[in-house]
């Protein structure tokens, strides 16, 4: 299978007043093209930080301090991938929401309360599909100009067409520049000599500075009085949103469009969040516990929706959850995380049939079963404080089969059998 995104030994720290929180301790996960990948673990084990690092939206005071995040998007960069940690912020902005997008735990707080649904969903289109929108508008204007009308209205339309064309041209110019820079950066990707490094940083800086706007267009864009000028584009965007919402099973999308988040129910809000993420047909959808705050019936609906989308629209899904039942339901491959460590990675079947890592075993036996009569099994102890995490394997203080070496050395990730890797001293082997 071909890789889509891969993290190699990712370290993310949070620099707080109490000390450095080492949230990720060398996380390596691989999401392949076309699969649904699960990330499981308790709260605070670094699942969310992992995916936020993948999108580089870890907020202050967090910082990615080590490792690589390789992205294999188009066919040309399939071979070595792009290390997005080293890329500019502008590059990331073009990736986020377009190729990779994300839906969040709590829909009610992840929607901006003061912006309408139209503004929030439409923003994705306006950010990533501006060129296409402009082209469509120009086509519309050309049709309208063919018919007869009031001279003044025609003059206004002609002016609009001129300005839209100008904007489109400047956008295309910008895209061309960006493509050139990205190609050169890609060629320099693996070179580490001082000259290439300098060249890379200067290219990255240039990409950040590069702006599409010519003077006139940005003046129109920024002036609040000329909002009407963009009415045509907004109309097209509106139609696109309505289509999108319809496909997500939102009833009466034309009305939902005008409403604000607080006027919608929890399930509907989550659908809107999904709509924002899906607006530009992403290759990878990251779902960060998308159902944990919904009631069970809505949960089922949302899960069905994600499964349906996975089949029809999105290539890959990275699904984060603490619910093992959901993992069994949705995912194909799973990584179990504990306190910033990856414990084991395998297919879902294998995980439930043949768990290797003591933590995974503990997790699985803590799931309540209907036929169970004795007391529910728990893992003794609590999740460690990540400011002073235990040395070696971070799970060893709670591990029933801890050995001396566990406190001394972090176990390497070994391949136990094909497609089943585990990081535990119980299973010695070659590091992969």
């Amino acid at each position: 299978m071909e890789k889509l995104i891969e993290t190699e030994d990712l370290y993310t720290n949070f620099f707080t007043f109490e000390g450095v929180v080492r949230a990720l301790n060398g996380v390596s996960v691989v999401v392949n093209q076309g699969e649904t990948y699960g990330l499981v673990g308790e709260s605070g084990c670094g699942k969310s930080v992992t995916v936020r690092s993948m999108m580089r939206i870890v907020q202050e005071p967090g910082k990615i301090v080590g490792g690589k995040i390789l992205l294999f998007l188009s066919s040309e960069d399939r071979q070595k991938g792009i290390d997005i940690i080293k890329r500019s912020e502008a590059f990331m902005e073009s990736i986020r929401g377009d190729d990779i997008s994300m839906i969040f735990q709590e829909a009610s707080t992840s929607l901006n309360p003061v912006l309408s649904i139209r503004d929030q969903v439409g923003e994705s289109f306006l950010l990533h599909r501006r060129g296409e929108l402009l082209e469509e508008t120009l086509k519309q204007l050309a049709d309208e100009l063919k018919s007869n009308g009031f001279p003044l209205a025609m003059a206004w339309k002609g002016f609009q067409r001129w300005l839209f064309r100008r904007e489109l041209e400047s956008l295309r110019r910008y895209e061309k520049h960006v493509k050139e820079i990205d190609r050169e950066l890609y060629e320099l990707e693996e070179k580490t000599d001082p000259r290439s490094t300098r060249r890379k940083s200067s290219l990255n800086a240039r990409r950040d500075r590069l702006s599409e706007h010519d003077f006139l267009v940005s003046a129109v864009k920024k002036s609040p009085f000329l909002e009407r000028y963009y009415k045509k584009i907004h109309k097209i965007v509106e139609n696109k949103i309505i289509e999108l919402l319809k496909s997500l099973g939102v009833p009466n999308p034309a009305n939902v469009l005008k409403s604000y988040p607080h006027e919608l129910s929890g399930g509907m809000q989550q659908r809107i969040v999904i709509a924002i993420a899906l607006a530009c047909n992403p290759t990878l959808l990251i779902a960060d516990e998308p159902t944990s705050n919904l009631d069970v019936t809505i949960q089922a609906q949302i899960i069905e929706l994600i499964k349906m989308l996975k089949e029809n629209i999105i290539t890959s899904v990275l699904f984060i959850t603490h619910d093992l039942g959901l993992v069994a339901e949705v995912c194909e491959r799973v990584t179990v995380m504990y306190a910033g460590d990856t414990c084991e990675t395998t297919s879902v079947k294998e995980l439930f049939k043949n768990p290797l890592h003591p933590y995974t075993k503990g997790l699985l036996s803590s799931v309540p079963r209907i036929e169970q009569v004795e007391k529910l099994h728990t893992i003794p102890g609590t999740v460690p404080n990540l400011i002073n995490p235990p040395a070696g394997c971070r799970f060893h203080p709670r591990c029933p089969s801890a050995m001396k070496i566990c406190a001394e050395r972090k176990p390497p990730m070994v391949e136990y059998k094909e497609g089943h890797t585990v990081s535990c001293h119980l299973y010695p082997g070659e590091e992969v």
Partner: protein, 344 residues
């Protein structure tokens, strides 16, 4: 339609509030003995006791309070607020004389205070714990802690005293002659506006020139509160989940700050800005004294010292109206910024 209904309802409510204010004001007035209240109606310096008694009976100052209230209210509704000793004119005349001077300064300073406060507050939040943040903090502390009279005098000393620019007063003596001449028509009483309407740009610049220093003074003193409030509410907004959503959408930092966070952060700032505006309308006593501007604040202070009851009562009523109106405007702006707030 619902907005119009809401405004009409609030305006009706405003009448009720103002009625309460008149009651309050009137009861304060009733504390003063009748002999002194004669001064509201008569302006002679020396009156014999028998004349005084005649006047008290003439104006019914010993009648039951409700009757006196009704009589007073009838006068007020007719626009007759009595005679102001400090303005040596009827109160309404005094108001026409003093109010434009204050209004001119407030109208110039308030937008600037709001812009400076919000802008610096946002900068502080965006660059949290970096040098820009520290600089705005110093600016805020200076603004908070410096007494008005000291800062005003300092500004006057530096600019007028040492450099000879930005003199106090409202206008230079030469322009004054023009302003009081027959061909200069007083449309609004606002010097700058009148100058434009009379097409006298020299006078406009002159009036503006005199406005600069008091405006700077007001900005330094008043934007601090707004700035700190904006900074903290901006930080709060930036910590919310929807900021992550916006980032994950591919929005740039600029869009996140200025579109997603600012609008949420503005909600508390609007209240403070409104209160600030209302306070400035009546409370610039010290600024007006220092910069020799004959405004409402100065008049009020003098009226209070000289027990000029009609002037005080009028101004209390006036400020009540200003506060109620500003509150209404703030509520409307609220509903505009935050859709969760429903009017009506």
């Amino acid at each position: 339609m619902s907005l119009l209904h809401y405004i009409i309802r609030r305006l009706l409510l405003m009448i009720v509030v103002l009625f309460g204010v008149t009651l309050l004001v009137f009861s304060i007035m009733m504390i003063i003995p009748p002999g002194q209240r004669v001064g509201i109606y008569v302006q002679h310096e020396k009156i014999t006791p028998s004349q005084m008694e005649a006047l008290i009976i003439k104006y019914g100052l010993r009648d039951p309070a409700p009757i006196q209230y009704l009589r007073w209210m009838a006068n007020v509704l007719r626009g007759d607020f009595g005679h102001s000793v400090t303005a040596s004119a009827p109160v309404s005349e005094g108001f026409k004389m003093y109010f434009p001077v204050t209004l001119e300064l407030v109208l110039l300073a308030t937008p600037l205070i709001i812009i400076v406060g919000i802008k610096l507050g946002m900068l502080g939040a965006i660059h949290k714990d970096r040098s820009i943040d520290h600089a705005t903090r110093v600016f805020a502390i200076v603004g908070y802690s410096l007494p008005t009279f000291w800062l005003g005098l300092l500004l006057l000393m530096i600019f007028y005293g040492y450099f000879g620019i930005f003199p106090p007063g409202t206008i230079s003596p030469d322009s004054k002659d023009v302003v009081f001449s027959a061909e200069f028509i007083n449309f609004t009483g606002l010097l700058t506006l009148d100058a434009i309407l009379n097409w006298r740009w020299d006078i406009f610049w002159d009036a503006l020139y005199h406005l600069i220093l008091p405006t700077i003074n007001l900005i330094l003193l008043n934007s601090a509160l707004l700035m700190r409030l904006m900074r903290s509410s901006m930080l709060e907004a930036l910590g919310q989940d929807f900021i992550l959503t916006a980032l994950a959408k591919g929005a740039s930092k600029r869009i996140v700050y200025y579109k997603h966070a600012r609008r949420n952060a503005l909600i508390p700032a609007v209240t403070v800005a409104g209160v600030l505006f209302a306070l400035l309308m009546g409370g610039m006593v010290i600024t007006e004294t220092i910069f020799a501007r004959q405004g409402i604040g100065l008049w009020m202070a003098r009226a209070a010292l000289m027990l000029d009851v009609p002037a005080i009562m009028f101004n209390v009523l006036f400020l009540g109206t200003v506060f109620v109106t500003v509150n209404l405007i703030v509520d409307i702006i609220y509903a505009y910024i935050d859709p969760r707030i429903r009017l009506g």
